[in-house]
Symmetry: C2
Subunit: 432 residues, 2 copies
């Protein structure tokens, strides 16, 4: 009898692994920690890590997304494969230590600054792949097709030239990269935006992609983009996409900030995922995604660190909810009858979209939260996720396991010092 009681208690005590369907027994290595699934970062421009905090200075009395983009273009012109590798490795260490186990790289820095392909046309892609390998993070590499500088089909500007491909060159790049796909590397396809890819081309490329390949696109981030699309295509961006392309669960729409109620419903019904980037969308003054309406419509969504001014699923999720609270002057927006906890509702959303958006399904990647952290003291299972996301600023991540390998222990990536040293040296070069 006492044996049975002990056995039951031990089982209960071991239920330290949160999953979207309930608490499960965790691997013994979790110890006193609490375990959550690894988080997918659905939208990243690795090179922008190097300019984080360097565009918070007035350049124009009307500073906006568009003046920020000028700063970003100047920065983008500085990178070569070696410096991109160093910056991405530092970024991926920061992501892993924050609890991201997969990153989707929306990668458009393809060629030399003058727009000439490198001898290996995949050289910049390989820099990102190498950075992911160095650090152990899963990578969904999304080479970006970028063909024109506006809805009117104008040519790329000098600063955009290193982003550009014709369709054949782009498909060859995809094919080349697919040869390297493996347990931790998945290849997808990205269109920079509606304005950067002609409508017919977009449809032709989608038709040529291997079945099931993820497709990502920037869309409806800025009001100016909505206005240009209305003027040239007589439809709003999301409206146009849903009417003219076969959008399904392979698709991830990045930002989708400016939506009509019909567009919100339409995305949800299409099965596509929205990659919301709350810290970047706030930093750039984009606006707020209509989260409550989208959840009510049953839409799929995840988060992205995008411009890297924050590298933390906690800050993304917290401020996704807080933005809604500020706009509505109510609390506890991301909840439902079946999920009254905001933190659990948000974490369920992120986990549910992960396989479609990244291409990695059924991973056993986990993040262990420090069971000794003051923020979790005395917590019941009902509180753990809320306290992780809504209780202070210390990083609670103590261990991260990707593809069965422990890459973070005691909160620190196993190679953080060497990678940071190379990053510092690279930054001195970039900023010299």
């Amino acid at each position: 009898m006492s044996g049975q009681t002990n056995h039951e208690m031990s089982t209960i005590d071991n239920d330290r692994f949160w999953t979207p369907t309930g608490w499960r027994a965790a691997d013994a290595s979790a110890g006193e920690g609490w375990v959550v699934p690894g988080i997918a970062n659905l939208h990243s421009h690795a090179f922008q890590r190097a300019m984080a905090g360097m565009a918070e200075r007035q350049t124009n009395p009307e500073d906006s997304f568009w003046t920020w983009r000028e700063t970003m273009y100047r920065f983008a012109a500085c990178f070569n494969p070696e410096t991109l590798h160093a910056v991405a490795a530092q970024l991926y260490v920061e992501m892993l230590e924050a609890g991201y186990t997969t990153v989707c790289e929306f990668h458009y820095l393809h060629h030399s600054p003058q727009g000439k392909p490198y001898d290996d046309p995949a050289a910049m892609s390989r820099a990102l792949i190498q950075a992911a390998r160095d650090t152990g993070i899963r990578l969904t590499l999304l080479p970006v097709l970028y063909m024109s500088g506006g809805f009117d089909g104008r040519a790329l500007s000098d600063r955009q030239r290193r982003f550009g491909h014709d369709v054949d060159g782009f498909l060859r790049l995809l094919e080349l990269l697919c040869e390297d796909a493996g347990e931790r590397l998945h290849i997808g396809c990205a269109f920079h935006s509606l304005r950067a890819v002609p409508a017919d081309t977009m449809r032709a490329v989608v038709a040529a992609l291997p079945g099931g390949m993820p497709v990502h696109i920037h869309i409806a981030e800025q009001i100016g983009e909505v206005q240009d699309c209305m003027a040239l295509r007589n439809a709003r961006p999301v409206e146009w996409l849903l009417e003219n392309v076969d959008v399904d669960s392979r698709w991830t729409l990045v930002h989708a900030t400016h939506l009509t109620p019909e567009e919100t419903q339409g995305i949800a019904q299409s099965g596509a995922t929205v990659a919301i980037c709350p810290t970047t969308e706030a930093n750039l003054g984009d606006g707020l995604f209509p989260l409550r309406e989208y959840l009510d419509a049953g839409g799929a969504w995840g988060i992205g660190s995008d411009s890297q001014i924050s590298v933390s699923p906690v800050e993304e999720l917290r401020w996704l909810e807080y933005g809604q609270r500020l706009a509505t002057r109510h609390r506890n927006i991301a909840v439902s009858e079946s999920s009254p906890s905001v933190g659990e509702t948000l974490l369920r959303g992120v986990i549910a979209s992960s396989a479609h958006a990244t291409g990695f399904s059924g991973t056993s990647d986990v993040v262990v939260l420090d069971g000794n952290a003051a923020q979790l003291a005395g917590a019941s299972r009902d509180d753990i996720v809320d306290r992780w996301i809504f209780s202070g600023n210390r990083n609670l991540v103590s261990e991260v396991h990707v593809a069965g390998q422990r890459v973070v222990s005691d909160g620190q990536h196993h190679d953080r010092d060497a990678i940071a040293a190379r990053y510092r040296a690279t930054m001195r070069t970039l900023l010299a």
Copy 2:
């Protein structure tokens, strides 16, 4: 000649201390770090640290500030001097490690849960004082006068009873506490809100205070409060205060979220400080302070961690700016011709208000940022403050010095483990 060059370079290299008027030579102990002044936290309710992350669960389909307050009242009923001391000490360690060197405690948990004064009527105040002494943070203790439960003068509810004083009892408490004031302890006075203190009483208490004593008040946080004030006093809260009380630079108005342009101007002209609490105001769905208009009017302001769902000047300052960007869809709002960097403009604001709001003037408290941090790699002096506030989530604070004593080294408070162990034990008791 080479000697002179070396001397000049050495002087330049040592200018690692940011001040509102420019870079200065830092103490040699800064080493490779970058030094900024210690930050004052203008608004804290220490006991709420223990409930951070535990009110993010739907209790009502119309969750708002007011349903949150019910949760908070239930929590407030649990504390005694011993548990308050343990929670406050943990909180103050977190504040110091985040770069706060002074905290203003807006303290209303005066009596036993039944409303009976403790044998020592200052017992709860002394718990806070002891926590500050244990940790080394400067404390501006603001005992709160709380007399009625609404603008109509209704009695305190059962849950509010432990907050209450009559005027004589309150002034005796102030007098008692002033005996302990010293280098790191300053005593101020707080009125909970306009609804909690009758108008005549407020004027009488202000008249009885020692000259120069800081006075803090919660005001215009919620629309419901503005409506009640309009109904009962025929004026908006800030409008009423400015017309009926001699508001000057001794005053700190906490929140002041809902303002007309005239009220915004009026506060700025009065010389009062606004304590903005961006993370709490977002968590509670309060709304956004009109920062741009207030800066244009030359108003004084600082930040507070308030409900402790975040303990970080970086997150407060970052989201103070981001809220404005989301509302205006522009970037770089907190800037001026003389201060084009957002981070420096924000840091100047926080430093400039500190002495009036806290009562501590001319301190030499400093925070050292880790010069080896990846986030600061390759930075020039122009970038340091922006990068600290707008570049990622790792805490860059490596050392904190208060009143000449180093209380944080290598990012860790000297007594963090023992204080955290006592906090964990206390939390298990509070939540049992």
